[in-house]
């Protein structure tokens, strides 16, 4: 009960703040008004923070042609629709909704505002005025998997998972495939915290994995708590969404960085010059949407070289994250030799590859 009430209040506060900003910017009549809807606080130094960096990049690049508004802490439910509708009704002509749970609310509002353009992150439903976009984060996980394979001594990698959805399960698999290429003896242990953001629980999960012998902690949750925990125990870690080095300079190997800046600038430009289309974009390392944070200086030079080569091979298409033969936990070949996983297979992934302990929660 507490959480629901909090969420509501959060939305109310965020809405009033966001709308306040909207009123302030209404003075500039001719400028294109661009709205952003975030699921978390801008201050999460992770997912929502990175999207807001993209908004700031738009302001920097096109500051005299646009004004931007953002609403943070919007719960993925009925409130989202109201927030999106508010933005549309207050003159925003381009609205980015940046979380999977905003998909249906976005489509509903888009129907009522055919002259407003919408962009929904990580969804699969499009319309005349709704485009979708996401990042191939699994490509980054291939690179960190290879690095982890070289850095682990105990051959146990601890993986702090948020929710067992295809994006996260696919990330674990991409990581594990590359990990075992470098180090066939290594295995991955997964602990799900069933939250995107709960520093206390993420720290507890990291501690549990470390106590079980893991010496590299990888996370697919948004807070830097696992990094801090790994640093405290003198072990390695990998950050999520943005560069988390400052939370564990001795521990942080690298991080998967989601870089929306280029995409946002390009899409706002498309609206300004009239070339906007409701397309689907799924960019990876090659398009700059997925980046790796600066490597820890403690990583040996040959490992850095290997990682950079892997990145280059992914960009050139020489290497795919799910390149056959890929076996599932039962040893059955799911992706045969010479083939790579299709986008559909990746988007629906609900099984673990060989080398991951435990089962995917159903």
């Amino acid at each position: 009960m507490g959480k629901a009430v909090l969420g509501l209040a959060g939305a109310a506060i965020a809405l009033s703040v966001g709308m306040g900003a909207g009123i302030g910017s209404a003075l500039a009549q001719d400028k294109l008004k661009v709205g952003f809807v975030y699921v978390g606080p801008v201050s999460d130094h992770g997912y929502s923070y990175q999207h807001d960096q993209g908004r700031l990049a738009v302001e920097k690049a096109l500051g005299d042609k646009v004004t931007t508004t953002f609403v943070e802490n919007v719960p993925e439910g009925a409130d989202a629709e109201r927030v999106i509708e508010q933005l549309a009704a207050s003159g925003h002509k381009l609205i980015f909704t940046t979380s999977f749970g905003f998909m249906n609310p976005t489509l509903k509002v888009a129907k009522r505002y055919p002259d407003v353009k919408f962009e929904h992150a990580t969804g699969y439903k499009r319309a005349e005025n709704v485009a979708t976009y996401s990042g191939r984060f699994y490509e980054g996980r291939t690179v960190i998997g290879a690095i982890a394979g070289k850095m682990t001594k105990s051959n146990i990698i601890g993986y702090v998972g948020s929710y067992p959805i295809p994006e996260v399960v696919g990330g674990i698999n991409a990581f594990t495939i590359a990990l075992r290429e470098q180090n066939p003896k290594a295995e991955v242990r997964v602990v799900w915290v069933n939250s995107w953001y709960d520093p206390g629980k993420e720290a507890e999960a990291a501690k549990a994995l470390i106590d079980q012998g893991a010496d590299v902690i990888v996370q697919h949750t948004d807070s830097p708590a696992p990094i801090q925990t790994a640093q405290e125990r003198g072990l390695w870690s990998v950050g999520q969404s943005s560069d988390m080095t400052r939370f564990g300079p001795k521990s942080h190997l690298t991080a998967i960085v989601e870089d929306w800046n280029g995409y946002y600038v390009q899409r706002v430009k498309a609206v300004l010059d009239g070339s906007w289309k409701p397309i689907d974009t799924w960019g990876g390392i090659g398009t700059g949407m997925v980046e790796l944070a600066p490597y820890n200086p403690a990583i040996p030079a040959d490992v850095v070289k290997m990682a950079d080569q892997l990145k280059a091979d992914i960009v050139s298409g020489k290497r795919h994250s799910f390149q056959g033969p890929v076996k599932d936990q039962a040893g059955k070949v799911v992706i045969p030799e010479g083939k790579t996983a299709t986008d559909e297979q990746i988007l629906k992934m609900d099984w673990y590859v060989e080398g991951v302990q435990g089962k995917v929660p159903k």
Binding site: V5, N73, W192, D198, G200, A203, E204, L209
Partner: protein
Amino acid sequence: MNDFALIGPILAAMFAAATPLLFAALGELVVEKSGVLNLGVEGMMLVGAVCGFAVTIQTGSAVTGFLVAALAGAATASLFAVLTLFLLANQVATGLALTLFGVGLSALIGQGFVGIPLEGLPKLYIPGLTDLPVVGQALFGQDIMVYLAIAAVPLVHLFLYRTRAGLVLRAVGENHTAAHALGYKVLRIRFLAVLFGGAMAGLGGAFLSMDYTPMWAENMTSGRGWIALALVVFATWKPVRAMLGAWLFGGVTILQLHVQGLGIDVPSQLLSMLPYLATVLVLVLISRDIARIRLNAPACLGKLFHPDA
């Protein structure tokens, strides 16, 4: 790795995980014993967490940080006290509002402190004792706040059941009209109890932001204030049982993470549910014994009192 060797780390993690719950629950227990129901624990914890963190960053002194966290928790609680005790606002509604207020206020104060790392408290190390197998780390290798929370249990118990002031506080909670007729200052006693509850909640929150996960993040208590509230009922208003309950909650939380890491085939959602399931189960069990609840629940809990009425 030998799974038996995990018992020690699990125990150690359990005591640490229980600490914020124990601080907040002990505070709320005293508040409820005085006849006041303050549902704003989560909000007070958050204000304590952000203020403790901010002051520690500014001054570099964790002791000052914890003191300010306690003061900030008490200050937040004083709002509740003024509204409910003197202006006779509904306690349930005011408590809920206090949580909402605390969430917003802490986010506002914390704006400039997001993303700054802090060093956690040093862990105790007693040569010999901390090295003991299995229990060494858990019993003798924690930091000072874990021991302070545990030390507060007998202190609160002794205060409530062995001192005159504690007797008066309980009398006020049982029958405020009678206590008033005997000349006790009902409102003053309740006011102090609410301040104490706020200070303890503030300490619990500060333990999270300054030690457990040393950073400030919006809403970082993630519902622990609500669990602390449930713990008070779970403990049937007894300090020692509140401690056992906090350990049980901490233990189940930690255990379920280990079960997952070991790849034992149980759905993680079911495991995450276990602490709450345990509460419901205990509530059902103790509810079968109506007499026990009646004996321990303060009779005037949540009732408004006006000295002139």
